[in-house]
Amino acid sequence: MVKVIEVEPVTRLEGHGGLRLVLGDDGKVQDVQFNITSTRFFEKFLEGRYCEHIPRITPRICGICPIPHHLTPTKAIEDAWGVQIPPAAYKLRQLLQNAKQYSSHALHFYALAAPDFLLGPFADPALRNVVHVINQMPDVGKMALKMMDFGQKLCQAIGGKSVHPISAIVGGMKKPLDENVRDLFLKQIEDQVEWTKKTVDIGLKVVEDYWDVVANVGVVPTYYVGMTKNGVHDIYDGDIRIVSPDGEKFDYPPQKYLDALGEHIPEHSYATHMYYKPAGYPDGIYRANTLAMINAADKMATPLADEALQAMRAKIGNVPHHTFAYHWARLIELVESIEVIATLLQDDDVVNPDCKTLDVQPREGDGVGLTEAPRGILLYHIWSDAQGICKKANLLVATNHNIAGIEKTLMHVAKQVFEDKALEGLKLPDPWIK
């Protein structure tokens, strides 16, 4: 008898999806599908809108990472219209992007991922959530809330609203950061750095506790897609970087994305499957998100983060394929974000009112914007007419970049679980929370 296992919905996920696993008579895994059920087809209804309205529409693609969906189309329109933004705007946007990275990575670690590790995989599902973690480990819980809150409040101060920001406009940023507000955030930096370090300690302890899982479950060689600026990890600006399963790196400027990135249309999911074009589909299936970003980088942009990256590489290699290392990579990025925030908050350009140019003129043409969202690279390609009305848009969002890679990983893990019974021999630690 064929057995179908369905998980509906997949929870603690930034998005909507279902999982389906098909087991054959022989106990062999025949198929794994990760269905994305919530695509909302923004591309079509961006047609006909004023280009400069797009950055206030597209954040609604994702309320967890609205900032990249605010900044990336702005960059694409600036590219299309040939607009140069002042240096102060560049730094403000970098700060905004890192504030989001910080709150999103803290949220992901504590609210989405940690319940699994802290309670263990066999805990009562009704308790395996962040509310229970807060109840059982109030100190850790409060720290987590304060980290998320710092990032969200900084997003709000720069972006105007924490969810669905409004401050980036074609030509720069509408307003600089208020000096008094900047000082309030600067005062909190020391605590935040401290908590980030504590978070890393918790993370490394978890990695150690679950070493058997990290090292053996879901080690799947794939391509990776990330973004770097001259080879250095960057989440606001840079080139597409592809990493092959054996570690070869290929760079493409954003405007050349069509040479690198292809979309395959599967019948069973509303999200497309992305792959590295020169390698074809399905061989060229890649993964995005934190580990991909880390694998793409020659080095991190800041000292503590780079130290953490080197430590990880010393332990699991230069291009690790360990799915559970995604959490580790996320913590390295968390460290970088707070270091970048600390540096930029001290830079007077973020309070400089000269953060916008008036030299903005719609023109016919197309442009590409690229950033790294907390869960993968984000690319907008926008076509404008002479009046500045959007004629057409192509969006490659993190969900698309990840789906094919997620399915490939799930297939691998499903085989490990159902065919090789790999879980039975795994060493698991005593849960921190019982």
Binding site: H16, V22, E47, V130, G160, G171, E263, L358
Partner: protein
């Protein structure tokens, strides 16, 4: 909140039973709930959260197994586009005593509702066939049922249009905003906890417009040209509408403290229509008509006003950004 805490300690099983659900949503409404910060601990002290897909492990069958009206209050965010979302709306309606449309998408269709300018076939065509990055020689589009050798696999069906929650099921209260602010959320939670809910069918929000909450004064100045936001020179503490940029403040319900205006950006209308108007876009167009014109000239001819309004190349995106599915004009401005 302290009082409620005591109450809940006295009668442990009398805690409020809350549920959150997201349909066609972005997750921002869920983050807005987390943004109430440590007040979330107060909420947890007075309430059990039964169902919250972004943060908790619960499966659809858990909801199906609940008895009817088991949930005291269900906050439902997101609009309705697929058969799955419609099913969940109906199910949660049955299982909840009070159903709250949470956020602009559930209240009025929201930004995803802009998809109603086209139908399913057209949106599929753009996303799956026409994109330059798609490699799709066989012209595949996702199917709701796919035959494989193990049997038939199904996907939820996409409806032709996006609907608000109350176009799908009966709704008790509305909490607009994209997303609602933490204050608006706490007001709603407070009203529920203290059993001080307004009459059924009410919008939980103040009876004022965004202009009433805005820090800028209006000076009755007329404008002759509609400007685009990037054309504004330096930041002036002056009403944006009177500087020539379209701001939906006059046509939008307040409650958000005019937060966009604090960032010197125009209101785009996420609070929905003002208390006594039915159609936000129509109200905005008449507000615009009354401010357009030459200083000193009492009355312009309707034709001249129309000419000025015609400067707006994209009326749908400008006047109906958050509520196309529920707008009175609705499908009139769209091709069939």
């Amino acid at each position: 909140m302290v009082k409620e805490k005591k109450k809940s300690e006295a009668g442990k099983n009398k805690k409020l039973q809350l549920a959150f659900y997201w349909a066609a949503s972005c997750g921002g409404c869920e983050i807005a709930v987390l943004d109430i910060d440590e007040k979330i601990l107060d909420v947890v002290a007075i309430a059990d959260i039964l169902f919250w897909p972004v943060a908790m492990d619960f499966k659809y069958k858990d909801v199906e197994a609940m008895k009817d009206k088991h949930i005291d209050v269900c906050f439902f965010n997101g609009s309705i586009r697929t058969s799955e979302q419609e099913h969940m709306a109906k199910l949660l309606r049955k299982k909840s005593k009070v159903l709250v449309a949470f956020g602009s998408c559930a209240v009025a269709g929201g930004i995803p509702g802009l998809a109603n300018i086209a139908n399913r076939e057209e949106v599929f065509k753009v996303s799956y066939l026409d994109n330059p990055s798609t490699d799709n020689p066989k012209k595949v589009v996702p199917k709701t049922s796919v035959k494989v050798k193990e049997g038939t696999l199904t996907l939820p069906e996409f409806h032709d249009t996006v609907k608000s929650l109350d176009q799908t099921v009966d709704v008790d209260y509305y909490l607009p905003g994209c997303p609602p602010t933490p204050d608006q959320i706490m007001t709603a939670v407070g009203a529920i906890a203290e059993n001080k809910l307004p009459p059924k069918g009410s919008v939980i929000g103040p009876l004022k417009s965004v202009c009433d909450e805005c820090r800028f004064e209006k000076s009755e100045k007329k404008i002759t040209k509609i400007k685009r936001i990037y054309e504004l020179d330096k930041i002036e503490d002056k009403c944006l509408l009177e500087q020539g940029v379209i701001c939906l403040g006059p046509a939008t319900r307040g409650g958000c403290d005019a937060r966009c205006l604090d960032a010197n950006m125009p209101c785009t209308g996420c609070g929905g229509p003002t208390p006594n108007s039915l159609d936000q876009g129509a109200k905005m167009m008449s507000a615009l008509a009354s401010i357009l014109g030459l200083e000193g000239e009492e009355k312009m001819s309707d034709e001249d006003v129309q000419k000025l309004i015609d400067q707006v190349v994209d009326p749908v995106g400008t006047f109906y950004k958050y509520g196309l599915p529920t707008a009175l004009i609705n499908r009139k401005v769209m091709k069939k």
